[in-house]
């Protein structure tokens, strides 16, 4: 069967005819739209490398059928930063050296952006660590990641209060 869907990805609408219903959002982003920043790690929802924002909420793109996302607004790592710089989470990752090999980094950053938007990160590092537990870093850069997310969360709160 074929099914036509519309996805807005990083602000650009795409009209896509799917001839195979098995395509996940992850494979569609990478193989059909050429957005390879979203990584395929475990492909089973266990590592978080494929995290994207769907209608503002972080999701594992590997466990989402593309066809089911019809009408959704999707933000990937390629679309997170404003035109003239870095997203605060990206800047904080640089500042705190929150990576080693970099493979999990796009998923970590998208997950952190989602967590901060959810507003449940709290003030303390323990809540951030718990909120980020769906993103595995095999290099073990968790300390830098937690500090980076904490700083970005603090800045987001300051700006919201300003």
């Amino acid at each position: 069967m074929t099914f036509s869907i519309t996805l807005t990805v990083n602000g650009t609408p795409h009209h896509l005819a799917l001839d195979d219903m098995r395509v996940t959002l992850l494979d569609l982003l990478r193989d059909r739209l050429g957005l390879t920043g979203t990584k395929k790690g475990c492909d089973r929802g266990q590592c978080g490398a494929c995290t994207v924002l769907v209608n503002g909420q972080r999701l594992n793109a590997c466990l989402a059928l593309a066809v089911q996302q019809d009408g959704a607004e999707i933000v990937t790592i390629e679309g997170l930063a404003p035109a003239d710089g870095l997203h605060p989470v990206q800047a904080a990752f640089l500042e705190h050296d929150a990576f080693q090999c970099g493979y999990c980094t796009p998923g970590q950053i998208m997950s952190a952006a989602g967590l901060i938007a959810e507003g449940e990160d709290g003030a303390d590092i323990e809540r951030i660590r718990e909120g980020m537990s769906g993103n595995i870093c095999r290099c073990g850069a968790y300390r830098g990641i937690s500090l980076a997310v904490a700083e970005a969360a603090r800045k987001a709160k300051t700006e919201a209060g300003a």
């Binding site: 098995r22 929802g45 594992n60 059928l65 066809v67 089911q68 989602g114 718990e130």
Partner: protein
């Protein structure tokens, strides 16, 4: 993955008609079904996407005080709803102790009830498994079974139901609303999942073509809000299934337990409501020896199904500890590490 057709019904009647095909599968958040399809454990020829059905994503309070949760409410939405989290704190804690932020944003209430066991042999299409392929045997019995059942198991199957959410729901007497070709019916959640007996492949009371429509928490379930905890032991402190878990809720008056609601998780093919222990606690004063006696009553019929005898002692201890934590009072704020016994953050009671 086997290829399939995709249907997106707009009405419940259309959805039920599509699901009358025995090769059709209902799709919610997809976090379990897609995983099983990738593993080759599930292979429907037709997927019926229920997520566009109207009205099933609501949390409502009915005139008699019942709280009704539509089957398509996402796991993340319940603990985020301030009214719900305040009325049913151990349900919120159980949800936040499970999976990851990403998965909770996708997973649905109905899908949580319908999720399959995480038994490694069920998930391996090449292993013998009476639950997945009736009559093939059970490789778990002589395999890696330290996380398997200690209550309600049978020689045919020793798998457990993996849900955290269902454990406090069973304790609070939640009701499952079911829609099917013959209309609507309802069941207590504590009886919704079937124990294996000889027919391990029958995992829930849902008949072919039926779906979960909603859950209801009865009036009175919120009376336990001041003294309710969900505690969960796991191999790591976040993003892991329970080895054992316990939901404990008390209604205290003048320092005496008037009513207790208890259930265990990770111990059986269903969330295990501990009614004998509830009865024993009614009228008692909260004290460590009382909680130990309740734990002993809850586990009286437990037996190891393999190399998992340690889970009997562990389940008793987590239940006694959950009771002590409940008696101390529901924390004013959700603990930083929901469900964890290692959380040392501020646990000031809510004085609810």
């Amino acid at each position: 993955m086997k290829s399939f057709d995709y249907l997106r019904p707009d009405t419940l009647d259309e959805a039920l008609a599509a699901l009358s095909d025995p090769d059709a599968a209902a799709l919610g958040g997809g976090t379990n079904l897609l995983d099983l399809m990738k593993l080759g454990v599930a292979g429907p020829s037709k997927i019926v996407d229920l997520t566009r059905l109207p009205g099933l994503d609501r949390i409502e309070t009915l005139p008699d005080g019942t709280v009704r949760i539509g089957a398509l409410v996402r796991n993340a939405a319940l603990p985020r709803d301030p009214g719900f989290a305040a009325a049913f704190p151990m349900v919120a804690e159980a949800l936040l102790s499970g999976a990851s932020g990403q998965l909770r944003n996708a997973a649905t209430v109905g899908g949580n009830l319908m999720q399959a066991t995480r038994c490694a042999y069920f998930q391996d299409p090449f292993a013998a498994c009476n639950r997945r392929a009736p009559g093939t045997g059970c490789d778990a019995k002589d395999g890696a079974n330290r996380n398997h059942a200690i209550l309600g198991w049978s020689p045919a199957c020793i798998a457990t139901h993996p849900s955290d959410f269902c454990v406090p729901l069973a304790a609070l007497g939640a009701i499952v609303e079911i829609a099917g070709p013959d209309g609507l019916r309802e069941l207590p959640l504590a009886e919704f999942h079937l124990l294996p007996g000889e027919e391990a492949h029958l995992t829930t009371q849902l008949a072919p073509g039926e779906i979960v429509l909603a859950l209801r928490l009865p009036p009175g379930a919120a009376d336990f809000a001041g003294h309710a905890r969900y505690l969960k032991l796991r191999e790591r402190n976040s993003y892991a299934f329970a080895i054992v878990s316990a939901a404990a809720a008390l209604r205290l008056e003048d320092g005496v337990i008037r009513e207790a609601r208890l259930a265990l998780g990770g111990v059986a093919a269903r969330p295990w409501r501990a009614t004998a222990a509830e009865t024993l606690l009614a009228g008692a004063r909260p004290a460590p020896e009382t909680f130990a006696a309740a734990a002993e009553a809850a586990l009286a019929e437990a037996a190891p199904s393999g190399a998992n005898g340690f889970k009997i002692a562990l389940a008793g201890r987590i239940l006694a500890r959950a009771l002590a934590a409940a008696a101390a009072g529901t924390p004013a704020r959700m603990p930083a590490l929901p469900g964890s016994v290692l959380d040392d953050s501020d646990t000031e009671a809510a004085h609810a």
